[in-house]
Protein backbone atom coordinates (compact mmCIF):
# COMPACT_ATOMS: atom_id res chain seq x y z
CA UNK A 1 0.00 0.00 0.00
CA UNK A 2 2.85 2.33 0.78
CA UNK A 3 4.24 1.79 -2.71
CA UNK A 4 0.94 2.67 -4.24
CA UNK A 5 0.79 5.88 -2.24
CA UNK A 6 4.36 6.89 -3.08
CA UNK A 7 4.00 6.25 -6.81
CA UNK A 8 0.84 8.28 -6.89
CA UNK A 9 2.54 11.19 -5.24
CA UNK A 10 5.48 11.18 -7.60
CA UNK A 11 2.91 11.12 -10.38
CA UNK A 12 2.55 14.76 -9.89
CA UNK A 13 1.84 17.80 -7.87
CA UNK A 14 -1.79 17.54 -8.85
CA UNK A 15 -2.41 14.58 -6.57
CA UNK A 16 -0.85 16.31 -3.60
CA UNK A 17 -2.58 19.62 -4.18
CA UNK A 18 -5.99 17.96 -4.47
CA UNK A 19 -5.35 15.75 -1.45
CA UNK A 20 -4.22 18.61 0.78
CA UNK A 21 -7.20 20.68 -0.20
CA UNK A 22 -9.51 17.79 0.62
CA UNK A 23 -7.85 17.11 3.98
CA UNK A 24 -8.18 20.77 4.94
CA UNK A 25 -11.93 20.62 4.22
CA UNK A 26 -12.25 17.54 6.42
CA UNK A 27 -10.11 18.95 9.24
CA UNK A 28 -11.83 22.33 9.28
CA UNK A 29 -15.33 20.84 9.21
CA UNK A 30 -14.58 18.63 12.19
CA UNK A 31 -12.70 21.26 14.18
CA UNK A 32 -15.37 23.90 13.65
CA UNK A 33 -18.25 21.65 14.60
CA UNK A 34 -16.33 20.10 17.51
CA UNK A 35 -15.65 23.60 18.78
CA UNK A 36 -19.31 24.57 18.51
CA UNK A 37 -20.34 21.32 20.23
CA UNK A 38 -18.03 22.06 23.14
CA UNK A 39 -19.82 25.38 23.64
CA UNK A 40 -22.81 23.37 24.87
CA UNK A 41 -20.84 22.39 27.95
CA UNK A 42 -22.86 23.16 31.05
CA UNK A 43 -25.83 24.37 29.03
CA UNK A 44 -27.54 21.17 27.84
CA UNK A 45 -31.14 20.38 28.85
CA UNK A 46 -29.96 17.71 31.26
CA UNK A 47 -26.72 16.38 32.70
CA UNK A 48 -26.85 13.23 30.58
CA UNK A 49 -27.14 15.39 27.45
CA UNK A 50 -24.11 17.32 28.57
CA UNK A 51 -21.99 14.22 28.93
CA UNK A 52 -23.10 12.97 25.52
CA UNK A 53 -22.46 16.24 23.69
CA UNK A 54 -19.06 16.53 25.25
CA UNK A 55 -18.16 13.04 24.11
CA UNK A 56 -19.22 13.88 20.56
CA UNK A 57 -17.25 17.14 20.65
CA UNK A 58 -14.13 15.22 21.61
CA UNK A 59 -14.62 12.75 18.78
CA UNK A 60 -15.00 15.56 16.25
CA UNK A 61 -11.88 17.37 17.43
CA UNK A 62 -10.09 14.02 17.54
CA UNK A 63 -10.95 13.48 13.88
CA UNK A 64 -9.72 16.98 13.07
CA UNK A 65 -6.42 16.09 14.74
CA UNK A 66 -6.18 12.99 12.54
CA UNK A 67 -6.62 15.06 9.36
CA UNK A 68 -4.27 17.82 10.54
CA UNK A 69 -1.65 15.16 11.30
CA UNK A 70 -1.97 13.85 7.74
CA UNK A 71 -1.50 17.38 6.42
CA UNK A 72 1.55 17.74 8.61
CA UNK A 73 2.98 14.50 7.21
CA UNK A 74 2.48 15.96 3.75
CA UNK A 75 4.67 18.90 4.70
CA UNK A 76 1.97 21.36 5.69
CA UNK A 77 3.38 22.65 8.97
CA UNK A 78 2.59 21.89 12.54
CA UNK A 79 -0.99 20.75 13.31
CA UNK A 80 -1.44 23.37 16.02
CA UNK A 81 -0.27 26.09 13.69
CA UNK A 82 -2.76 24.88 11.09
CA UNK A 83 -5.56 24.85 13.63
CA UNK A 84 -4.78 28.06 15.47
CA UNK A 85 -3.07 30.47 13.13
CA UNK A 86 -4.67 30.28 9.72
CA UNK A 87 -6.67 33.31 8.62
CA UNK A 88 -10.32 32.85 7.91
CA UNK A 89 -9.94 33.02 4.14
CA UNK A 90 -7.76 29.89 4.36
CA UNK A 91 -10.36 27.97 6.39
CA UNK A 92 -12.22 25.37 4.34
CA UNK A 93 -15.16 24.43 6.56
CA UNK A 94 -18.73 24.63 5.29
CA UNK A 95 -20.60 27.76 6.39
CA UNK A 96 -23.28 25.67 8.15
CA UNK A 97 -20.75 24.54 10.76
CA UNK A 98 -19.56 28.00 11.76
CA UNK A 99 -23.09 29.18 12.60
CA UNK A 100 -23.66 29.78 16.32
CA UNK A 101 -25.37 26.94 18.16
CA UNK A 102 -28.77 28.58 18.41
CA UNK A 103 -31.29 26.58 20.39
CA UNK A 104 -31.22 22.84 21.07
CA UNK A 105 -33.45 22.13 18.07
CA UNK A 106 -31.09 23.94 15.69
CA UNK A 107 -28.00 22.27 17.13
CA UNK A 108 -29.51 18.80 16.89
CA UNK A 109 -30.91 19.26 13.41
CA UNK A 110 -27.67 20.74 12.08
CA UNK A 111 -25.66 17.95 13.66
CA UNK A 112 -27.91 15.26 12.29
CA UNK A 113 -27.76 16.72 8.77
CA UNK A 114 -24.00 17.09 8.97
CA UNK A 115 -23.50 13.59 10.38
CA UNK A 116 -25.53 12.12 7.53
CA UNK A 117 -23.39 14.05 5.06
CA UNK A 118 -20.19 13.07 6.82
CA UNK A 119 -21.18 9.40 6.79
CA UNK A 120 -21.57 9.51 3.00
CA UNK A 121 -18.32 11.42 2.63
CA UNK A 122 -16.55 8.80 4.75
CA UNK A 123 -18.06 6.05 2.64
CA UNK A 124 -16.57 7.73 -0.41
CA UNK A 125 -13.12 7.41 1.18
CA UNK A 126 -13.38 3.82 2.33
CA UNK A 127 -11.58 2.56 -0.75
CA UNK A 128 -9.40 5.63 -1.16
CA UNK A 129 -6.16 5.30 -3.10
CA UNK A 130 -4.50 7.23 -0.28
CA UNK A 131 -3.91 4.50 2.28
CA UNK A 132 -3.72 6.61 5.47
CA UNK A 133 -7.07 8.12 4.64
CA UNK A 134 -8.61 4.73 3.82
CA UNK A 135 -7.45 3.26 7.13
CA UNK A 136 -8.35 6.29 9.21
CA UNK A 137 -11.84 6.66 7.82
CA UNK A 138 -12.73 3.10 8.72
CA UNK A 139 -12.04 3.88 12.37
CA UNK A 140 -13.71 7.27 12.21
CA UNK A 141 -16.82 5.77 10.66
CA UNK A 142 -17.20 3.42 13.62
CA UNK A 143 -17.40 6.45 15.93
CA UNK A 144 -19.56 8.50 13.62
CA UNK A 145 -22.05 5.64 13.52
CA UNK A 146 -22.93 6.40 17.14
CA UNK A 147 -23.16 10.14 16.58
CA UNK A 148 -25.50 9.55 13.71
CA UNK A 149 -27.64 7.17 15.74
CA UNK A 150 -27.74 9.60 18.67
CA UNK A 151 -28.62 12.61 16.53
CA UNK A 152 -31.18 10.68 14.48
CA UNK A 153 -32.90 9.54 17.67
CA UNK A 154 -33.02 13.07 19.06
CA UNK A 155 -34.17 14.44 15.70
CA UNK A 156 -37.00 11.90 15.43
CA UNK A 157 -38.19 12.29 18.99
CA UNK A 158 -38.11 16.08 19.06
CA UNK A 159 -39.71 16.22 15.64
CA UNK A 160 -42.56 13.90 16.59
CA UNK A 161 -43.24 15.29 20.07
CA UNK A 162 -45.58 18.05 18.92
CA UNK A 163 -45.94 21.34 20.77
CA UNK A 164 -43.02 23.68 21.20
CA UNK A 165 -40.51 21.02 20.20
CA UNK A 166 -42.11 20.63 16.81
CA UNK A 167 -42.34 24.36 16.22
CA UNK A 168 -38.69 24.79 17.07
CA UNK A 169 -37.68 21.92 14.80
CA UNK A 170 -39.63 23.48 11.94
CA UNK A 171 -37.86 26.78 12.52
CA UNK A 172 -34.51 25.01 12.68
CA UNK A 173 -35.17 23.28 9.38
CA UNK A 174 -35.87 26.61 7.68
CA UNK A 175 -32.75 28.10 9.19
CA UNK A 176 -30.46 25.23 8.20
CA UNK A 177 -31.75 24.82 4.66
CA UNK A 178 -30.19 27.89 2.97
CA UNK A 179 -26.78 27.01 4.47
CA UNK A 180 -26.59 23.51 2.97
CA UNK A 181 -25.26 24.44 -0.46
CA UNK A 182 -21.53 24.61 0.15
CA UNK A 183 -21.56 21.44 2.25
CA UNK A 184 -21.70 19.48 -1.02
CA UNK A 185 -19.21 21.71 -2.79
CA UNK A 186 -16.14 19.51 -3.15
CA UNK A 187 -14.07 22.45 -4.30
CA UNK A 188 -11.91 23.21 -7.33
CA UNK A 189 -10.14 19.81 -7.32
CA UNK A 190 -13.15 17.54 -7.34
CA UNK A 191 -12.24 16.13 -10.77
CA UNK A 192 -8.71 15.24 -9.62
CA UNK A 193 -9.96 13.78 -6.34
CA UNK A 194 -12.17 11.41 -8.31
CA UNK A 195 -9.61 10.64 -11.01
CA UNK A 196 -6.89 9.80 -8.50
CA UNK A 197 -9.34 7.68 -6.53
CA UNK A 198 -8.89 9.70 -3.34
CA UNK A 199 -12.69 9.71 -3.17
CA UNK A 200 -15.19 7.60 -5.02
CA UNK A 201 -18.32 9.77 -4.92
CA UNK A 202 -18.76 13.24 -6.35
CA UNK A 203 -20.30 16.09 -4.39
CA UNK A 204 -23.47 15.86 -6.43
CA UNK A 205 -23.74 12.09 -5.88
CA UNK A 206 -23.27 12.55 -2.12
CA UNK A 207 -25.94 15.22 -2.26
CA UNK A 208 -28.35 12.95 -4.17
CA UNK A 209 -27.95 10.17 -1.58
CA UNK A 210 -28.17 12.66 1.28
CA UNK A 211 -31.41 14.12 -0.07
CA UNK A 212 -32.89 10.64 -0.37
CA UNK A 213 -32.19 9.87 3.27
CA UNK A 214 -33.26 13.27 4.56
CA UNK A 215 -36.49 13.07 2.56
CA UNK A 216 -37.32 9.78 4.31
CA UNK A 217 -36.31 11.11 7.71
CA UNK A 218 -38.48 14.21 7.31
CA UNK A 219 -41.38 12.17 6.01
CA UNK A 220 -41.19 9.78 8.98
CA UNK A 221 -41.93 12.63 11.38
CA UNK A 222 -44.48 14.27 9.12
CA UNK A 223 -42.32 17.15 7.87
CA UNK A 224 -42.55 18.50 4.36
CA UNK A 225 -39.56 18.65 2.04
CA UNK A 226 -38.52 22.33 2.11
CA UNK A 227 -37.76 22.40 -1.62
CA UNK A 228 -34.55 22.40 -3.57
CA UNK A 229 -31.44 23.38 -1.64
CA UNK A 230 -30.62 26.89 -2.82
CA UNK A 231 -27.22 27.27 -4.41
CA UNK A 232 -25.18 29.52 -2.20
CA UNK A 233 -23.48 32.68 -3.36
CA UNK A 234 -20.56 31.97 -1.03
CA UNK A 235 -18.60 28.83 -0.36
CA UNK A 236 -16.75 28.18 2.88
CA UNK A 237 -14.81 25.52 0.97
CA UNK A 238 -13.23 28.35 -1.00
CA UNK A 239 -12.60 30.52 2.03
CA UNK A 240 -15.70 32.68 1.57
CA UNK A 241 -17.18 32.68 5.07
CA UNK A 242 -20.02 34.31 6.91
CA UNK A 243 -19.43 36.91 9.60
CA UNK A 244 -19.92 34.13 12.18
CA UNK A 245 -16.50 32.59 11.60
CA UNK A 246 -14.22 35.39 12.76
CA UNK A 247 -15.62 35.61 16.32
CA UNK A 248 -15.29 31.82 16.56
CA UNK A 249 -11.64 32.03 15.47
CA UNK A 250 -10.97 34.89 17.89
CA UNK A 251 -12.09 32.64 20.74
CA UNK A 252 -10.42 29.50 19.44
CA UNK A 253 -7.06 31.23 19.02
CA UNK A 254 -7.15 33.66 21.95
CA UNK A 255 -4.59 31.95 24.20
CA UNK A 256 -2.45 30.61 21.37
CA UNK A 257 -2.21 34.14 19.97
CA UNK A 258 -0.79 35.54 23.24
CA UNK A 259 2.47 34.01 22.09
CA UNK A 260 2.29 31.70 19.12
CA UNK A 261 5.92 30.64 19.59
CA UNK A 262 5.54 29.66 23.23
CA UNK A 263 4.96 26.08 24.35
CA UNK A 264 1.51 25.83 25.83
Amino acid sequence: MKMEQDTRITDGQKFETALKYWLACLADDELTLGHRDSEWLGLCPDIEGDVAFSSIAQDEVGHAVFYFDLLHQLGEGDPDRLAFSRDQHLRRNAILLERPNGDWAYSILRHYFYDLFDDLRLQSMESSSYAPLRQGTQKIRREEYYHLLHMKTLFSRLGSAGGQARERMEEALLKVWPDLGDLFDFGPYEKELLEFGIISLSGSEVRRRWEEQVRDALLSIGFEWPGEIPSSSRSGRRGEHSSDLQPLLDTLCEVYAIDSNARW
Binding site: L43, P45, I47, D50, D80, T153, A161, V255
Partner: protein
Protein backbone atom coordinates in the same frame (compact mmCIF):
# COMPACT_ATOMS: atom_id res chain seq x y z
CA UNK B 1 -32.13 6.19 70.88
CA UNK B 2 -34.40 3.42 69.65
CA UNK B 3 -33.27 -0.12 69.33
CA UNK B 4 -32.99 -0.09 65.54
CA UNK B 5 -30.81 3.01 65.52
CA UNK B 6 -28.60 1.52 68.21
CA UNK B 7 -28.06 -1.61 66.15
CA UNK B 8 -27.43 0.48 63.05
CA UNK B 9 -24.76 2.56 64.76
CA UNK B 10 -23.22 -0.56 66.25
CA UNK B 11 -23.03 -2.13 62.80
CA UNK B 12 -21.25 0.81 61.16
CA UNK B 13 -18.91 1.14 64.13
CA UNK B 14 -17.77 -2.40 63.39
CA UNK B 15 -17.03 -1.29 59.81
CA UNK B 16 -20.33 -2.46 58.32
CA UNK B 17 -21.59 -0.74 55.17
CA UNK B 18 -25.06 0.53 54.39
CA UNK B 19 -26.87 -0.05 51.09
CA UNK B 20 -29.62 2.13 49.58
CA UNK B 21 -32.27 -0.49 50.33
CA UNK B 22 -31.27 -0.94 54.00
CA UNK B 23 -33.18 0.68 56.79
CA UNK B 24 -31.40 3.80 58.05
CA UNK B 25 -32.14 6.51 60.65
CA UNK B 26 -33.66 9.69 59.22
CA UNK B 27 -30.77 11.73 60.51
CA UNK B 28 -28.30 9.50 58.63
CA UNK B 29 -30.32 9.80 55.42
CA UNK B 30 -30.53 13.58 55.70
CA UNK B 31 -26.82 13.97 56.41
CA UNK B 32 -26.00 11.85 53.38
CA UNK B 33 -28.35 13.81 51.15
CA UNK B 34 -26.83 17.08 52.31
CA UNK B 35 -23.26 15.91 51.76
CA UNK B 36 -23.69 14.07 48.47
CA UNK B 37 -26.05 16.64 46.97
CA UNK B 38 -23.48 19.33 47.65
CA UNK B 39 -20.78 17.12 46.19
CA UNK B 40 -22.84 16.45 43.04
CA UNK B 41 -23.71 20.10 42.56
CA UNK B 42 -20.11 21.16 43.10
CA UNK B 43 -19.05 18.84 40.28
CA UNK B 44 -21.66 20.37 38.00
CA UNK B 45 -20.97 23.98 38.98
CA UNK B 46 -17.27 23.14 38.78
CA UNK B 47 -17.63 22.82 35.04
CA UNK B 48 -18.34 26.55 34.66
CA UNK B 49 -14.97 28.04 35.60
CA UNK B 50 -13.35 25.72 33.09
CA UNK B 51 -16.09 26.09 30.53
CA UNK B 52 -14.73 29.53 29.77
CA UNK B 53 -11.38 27.99 28.77
CA UNK B 54 -12.52 24.92 26.88
CA UNK B 55 -13.07 26.88 23.64
CA UNK B 56 -9.77 28.73 24.13
CA UNK B 57 -7.41 25.85 24.91
CA UNK B 58 -4.21 26.74 23.07
CA UNK B 59 -3.30 23.44 21.37
CA UNK B 60 -5.30 20.59 19.87
CA UNK B 61 -4.10 18.19 22.56
CA UNK B 62 -5.00 20.61 25.34
CA UNK B 63 -8.39 21.15 23.76
CA UNK B 64 -9.09 17.42 23.75
CA UNK B 65 -7.78 17.00 27.29
CA UNK B 66 -9.75 19.81 28.86
CA UNK B 67 -12.94 18.73 27.09
CA UNK B 68 -12.48 15.21 28.41
CA UNK B 69 -11.76 16.51 31.86
CA UNK B 70 -14.82 18.69 32.14
CA UNK B 71 -16.93 15.90 30.70
CA UNK B 72 -15.68 13.73 33.56
CA UNK B 73 -16.80 16.37 36.06
CA UNK B 74 -20.28 16.40 34.58
CA UNK B 75 -20.26 12.62 34.62
CA UNK B 76 -19.34 12.63 38.30
CA UNK B 77 -22.17 15.04 38.94
CA UNK B 78 -24.53 12.65 37.19
CA UNK B 79 -23.33 9.57 39.12
CA UNK B 80 -23.61 11.42 42.42
CA UNK B 81 -27.06 12.76 41.58
CA UNK B 82 -28.19 9.18 41.03
CA UNK B 83 -27.00 8.30 44.52
CA UNK B 84 -28.90 11.30 45.96
CA UNK B 85 -32.00 10.48 43.91
CA UNK B 86 -32.25 7.08 45.60
CA UNK B 87 -31.77 8.61 49.03
CA UNK B 88 -34.23 11.44 48.42
CA UNK B 89 -36.96 9.37 46.76
CA UNK B 90 -38.69 8.49 50.07
CA UNK B 91 -38.83 12.23 50.77
CA UNK B 92 -40.59 12.82 47.45
CA UNK B 93 -37.68 14.64 45.80
CA UNK B 94 -36.83 14.12 42.13
CA UNK B 95 -33.93 14.97 39.84
CA UNK B 96 -35.81 18.07 38.68
CA UNK B 97 -35.91 19.32 42.30
CA UNK B 98 -32.27 18.49 42.93
CA UNK B 99 -31.22 20.65 39.98
CA UNK B 100 -33.67 23.46 40.77
CA UNK B 101 -32.22 23.61 44.30
CA UNK B 102 -29.03 25.02 42.75
CA UNK B 103 -30.52 28.23 41.44
CA UNK B 104 -33.06 28.63 44.20
CA UNK B 105 -30.10 28.57 46.58
CA UNK B 106 -31.26 25.52 48.54
CA UNK B 107 -28.02 23.63 48.03
CA UNK B 108 -24.54 25.04 48.42
CA UNK B 109 -21.47 24.39 46.33
CA UNK B 110 -17.76 24.66 47.08
CA UNK B 111 -16.25 28.13 47.42
CA UNK B 112 -13.71 27.56 44.65
CA UNK B 113 -16.47 27.30 42.04
CA UNK B 114 -17.76 30.76 42.93
CA UNK B 115 -14.44 32.25 41.86
CA UNK B 116 -13.38 33.66 38.51
CA UNK B 117 -11.21 31.83 36.03
CA UNK B 118 -9.49 34.79 34.47
CA UNK B 119 -6.65 33.25 32.48
CA UNK B 120 -5.47 29.99 30.98
CA UNK B 121 -3.16 29.64 34.00
CA UNK B 122 -6.25 29.72 36.24
CA UNK B 123 -7.62 26.79 34.26
CA UNK B 124 -4.33 24.99 34.92
CA UNK B 125 -4.39 25.77 38.64
CA UNK B 126 -7.98 24.54 38.84
CA UNK B 127 -6.94 21.23 37.30
CA UNK B 128 -3.84 20.90 39.43
CA UNK B 129 -4.60 22.32 42.87
CA UNK B 130 -8.39 22.50 43.06
CA UNK B 131 -8.66 18.96 41.76
CA UNK B 132 -5.71 18.02 43.95
CA UNK B 133 -7.57 19.32 46.99
CA UNK B 134 -10.74 17.55 45.86
CA UNK B 135 -8.91 14.23 45.57
CA UNK B 136 -7.68 14.53 49.13
CA UNK B 137 -11.23 15.19 50.28
CA UNK B 138 -12.70 12.40 48.21
CA UNK B 139 -10.05 9.81 48.96
CA UNK B 140 -10.77 10.36 52.65
CA UNK B 141 -14.42 9.57 51.95
CA UNK B 142 -13.67 6.20 50.34
CA UNK B 143 -14.05 4.68 53.82
CA UNK B 144 -17.56 6.08 54.15
CA UNK B 145 -20.20 3.88 55.75
CA UNK B 146 -22.59 4.44 52.81
CA UNK B 147 -21.62 1.86 50.20
CA UNK B 148 -23.23 3.39 47.05
CA UNK B 149 -21.32 6.62 47.71
CA UNK B 150 -18.07 4.71 48.25
CA UNK B 151 -18.45 2.90 44.93
CA UNK B 152 -18.99 6.11 42.99
CA UNK B 153 -16.10 7.75 44.83
CA UNK B 154 -13.78 4.97 43.77
CA UNK B 155 -14.37 5.77 40.13
CA UNK B 156 -14.25 9.51 40.74
CA UNK B 157 -10.88 9.27 42.48
CA UNK B 158 -9.42 7.24 39.63
CA UNK B 159 -10.52 9.85 37.11
CA UNK B 160 -9.49 12.77 39.27
CA UNK B 161 -5.93 11.57 39.37
CA UNK B 162 -5.86 11.97 35.58
CA UNK B 163 -7.22 15.48 35.97
CA UNK B 164 -4.48 16.34 38.37
CA UNK B 165 -1.91 15.16 35.85
CA UNK B 166 -3.68 17.16 33.17
CA UNK B 167 -3.50 20.26 35.37
CA UNK B 168 0.07 19.57 36.38
CA UNK B 169 1.02 19.24 32.73
CA UNK B 170 -0.46 22.65 31.89
CA UNK B 171 1.33 24.12 34.91
CA UNK B 172 4.68 22.60 33.94
CA UNK B 173 4.47 24.03 30.43
CA UNK B 174 3.79 27.48 31.90
CA UNK B 175 6.43 27.17 34.62
CA UNK B 176 9.06 26.26 32.04
CA UNK B 177 7.76 28.76 29.51
CA UNK B 178 8.29 32.43 28.78
CA UNK B 179 8.48 35.17 31.39
CA UNK B 180 4.93 36.16 30.53
CA UNK B 181 3.71 32.59 31.05
CA UNK B 182 5.48 32.28 34.41
CA UNK B 183 3.99 35.55 35.55
CA UNK B 184 0.54 34.40 34.51
CA UNK B 185 1.07 31.27 36.58
CA UNK B 186 2.28 33.12 39.69
CA UNK B 187 -0.73 35.42 39.49
CA UNK B 188 -3.03 32.42 39.25
CA UNK B 189 -1.47 30.88 42.35
CA UNK B 190 -1.83 34.19 44.22
CA UNK B 191 -5.48 34.36 43.29
CA UNK B 192 -6.37 30.77 44.22
CA UNK B 193 -4.29 30.14 47.34
CA UNK B 194 -6.68 31.51 49.93
CA UNK B 195 -9.66 29.78 48.31
CA UNK B 196 -7.76 26.50 48.42
CA UNK B 197 -7.15 26.78 52.15
CA UNK B 198 -10.78 27.61 52.75
CA UNK B 199 -11.91 24.72 50.56
CA UNK B 200 -11.40 22.18 53.36
CA UNK B 201 -13.76 24.05 55.67
CA UNK B 202 -13.48 25.56 59.15
CA UNK B 203 -10.89 24.35 61.65
CA UNK B 204 -13.36 23.62 64.39
CA UNK B 205 -15.55 20.55 64.05
CA UNK B 206 -19.09 21.86 63.37
CA UNK B 207 -22.12 20.09 64.82
CA UNK B 208 -23.02 18.68 61.38
CA UNK B 209 -19.45 17.44 60.85
CA UNK B 210 -19.60 15.91 64.31
CA UNK B 211 -22.66 13.88 63.33
CA UNK B 212 -21.03 12.78 60.07
CA UNK B 213 -18.03 11.53 61.99
CA UNK B 214 -20.38 9.79 64.43
CA UNK B 215 -22.05 7.86 61.61
CA UNK B 216 -18.74 7.27 59.87
CA UNK B 217 -20.02 9.08 56.81
CA UNK B 218 -16.65 10.75 57.02
CA UNK B 219 -13.69 9.74 59.10
CA UNK B 220 -11.28 12.69 58.94
CA UNK B 221 -11.60 16.29 60.13
CA UNK B 222 -11.24 19.34 57.89
CA UNK B 223 -7.93 20.30 59.45
CA UNK B 224 -6.44 16.83 58.96
CA UNK B 225 -7.27 17.06 55.26
CA UNK B 226 -5.92 20.60 54.91
CA UNK B 227 -2.64 19.48 56.48
CA UNK B 228 -2.47 16.59 54.03
CA UNK B 229 -2.94 19.00 51.15
CA UNK B 230 -0.13 21.21 52.41
CA UNK B 231 2.14 18.19 52.93
CA UNK B 232 1.65 17.15 49.37
CA UNK B 233 1.58 20.45 47.49
CA UNK B 234 3.80 22.97 49.27
CA UNK B 235 7.01 21.20 48.16
CA UNK B 236 5.69 20.69 44.64
CA UNK B 237 4.67 24.32 44.23
CA UNK B 238 8.01 25.52 45.56
CA UNK B 239 9.99 23.18 43.33
CA UNK B 240 8.51 24.98 40.33
CA UNK B 241 10.03 28.22 41.55
CA UNK B 242 6.65 29.67 42.51
CA UNK B 243 6.09 31.76 45.62
CA UNK B 244 3.23 30.78 47.88
CA UNK B 245 1.50 34.04 48.85
CA UNK B 246 1.70 33.50 52.60
CA UNK B 247 4.68 34.79 54.56
CA UNK B 248 3.57 32.95 57.69
CA UNK B 249 3.59 29.59 56.00
CA UNK B 250 6.07 27.16 57.61
CA UNK B 251 6.26 23.65 58.87
CA UNK B 252 6.35 23.34 62.65
CA UNK B 253 8.50 20.30 63.36
CA UNK B 254 7.48 20.04 67.00
CA UNK B 255 3.80 20.09 66.33
CA UNK B 256 4.31 18.21 63.07
CA UNK B 257 1.93 20.55 61.34
CA UNK B 258 1.84 23.39 58.87
CA UNK B 259 1.35 26.87 60.23
CA UNK B 260 -0.44 29.17 57.80
CA UNK B 261 -2.28 32.48 57.71
CA UNK B 262 -5.94 31.92 58.23
CA UNK B 263 -8.07 32.48 55.15
CA UNK B 264 -10.78 35.09 55.53
CA UNK B 265 -13.35 32.70 56.97
CA UNK B 266 -16.12 35.30 57.03
CA UNK B 267 -15.66 36.34 53.44
CA UNK B 268 -15.61 32.82 52.05
CA UNK B 269 -18.37 31.73 54.39
CA UNK B 270 -20.58 34.43 52.91
CA UNK B 271 -19.58 33.43 49.39
CA UNK B 272 -20.80 29.88 49.97
CA UNK B 273 -23.81 30.54 52.21
CA UNK B 274 -25.14 33.57 50.40
CA UNK B 275 -23.81 32.89 46.90
CA UNK B 276 -21.94 36.16 46.89
CA UNK B 277 -18.75 35.18 45.11
CA UNK B 278 -17.59 37.04 42.01
CA UNK B 279 -19.22 34.50 39.71
CA UNK B 280 -21.93 32.92 41.90
CA UNK B 281 -24.92 34.70 40.39
CA UNK B 282 -23.79 34.42 36.82
CA UNK B 283 -23.19 30.67 37.05
CA UNK B 284 -26.42 30.02 38.93
CA UNK B 285 -28.18 31.89 36.15
CA UNK B 286 -26.50 29.66 33.54
CA UNK B 287 -27.76 26.62 35.40
CA UNK B 288 -31.22 28.12 35.75
CA UNK B 289 -31.56 28.95 32.09
CA UNK B 290 -30.18 25.55 31.02
CA UNK B 291 -32.78 23.87 33.20
CA UNK B 292 -35.83 26.13 32.98
CA UNK B 293 -35.60 27.34 29.42
CA UNK B 294 -35.05 23.87 28.05
CA UNK B 295 -37.76 22.16 29.99
CA UNK B 296 -39.46 21.79 26.60
CA UNK B 297 -36.70 19.38 25.53
CA UNK B 298 -37.06 17.12 28.55
CA UNK B 299 -40.84 17.18 28.21
CA UNK B 300 -40.70 16.42 24.50
CA UNK B 301 -38.32 13.52 25.09
CA UNK B 302 -40.59 12.14 27.79
CA UNK B 303 -43.70 12.14 25.64
CA UNK B 304 -42.26 11.12 22.28
CA UNK B 305 -41.50 7.66 21.12
CA UNK B 306 -39.34 6.41 18.35
CA UNK B 307 -41.30 5.87 15.16
CA UNK B 308 -42.00 2.18 14.62
CA UNK B 309 -39.39 0.30 12.67
Amino acid sequence: MDHRTEEFVERIRRGGKVEATDWMPDEYRKLLIKLIHMHAVSEIMGAYPEKEWVPKAPTLRRKLAIMAKVQDEMGHGQLLLRVVEDLAAPLGKTREDLIADIYTGKVKFHNVFHMEARTWADAGVIGWLVDGAAIINQAALLETSYAPYARVLKRICAEESFHMQHGENIILALAMGTKQQRQMLQEALNYWWESLLFFFGPKEVTPAAERMLYYRIRTKTNEELRQKFLDKYVPRIQSLGLTIPDEQLRYDRERKAWVYSEPDWDKFGRIVRENRGPKSRERMELRRSAHEEQRWVREAMARSHLPAG
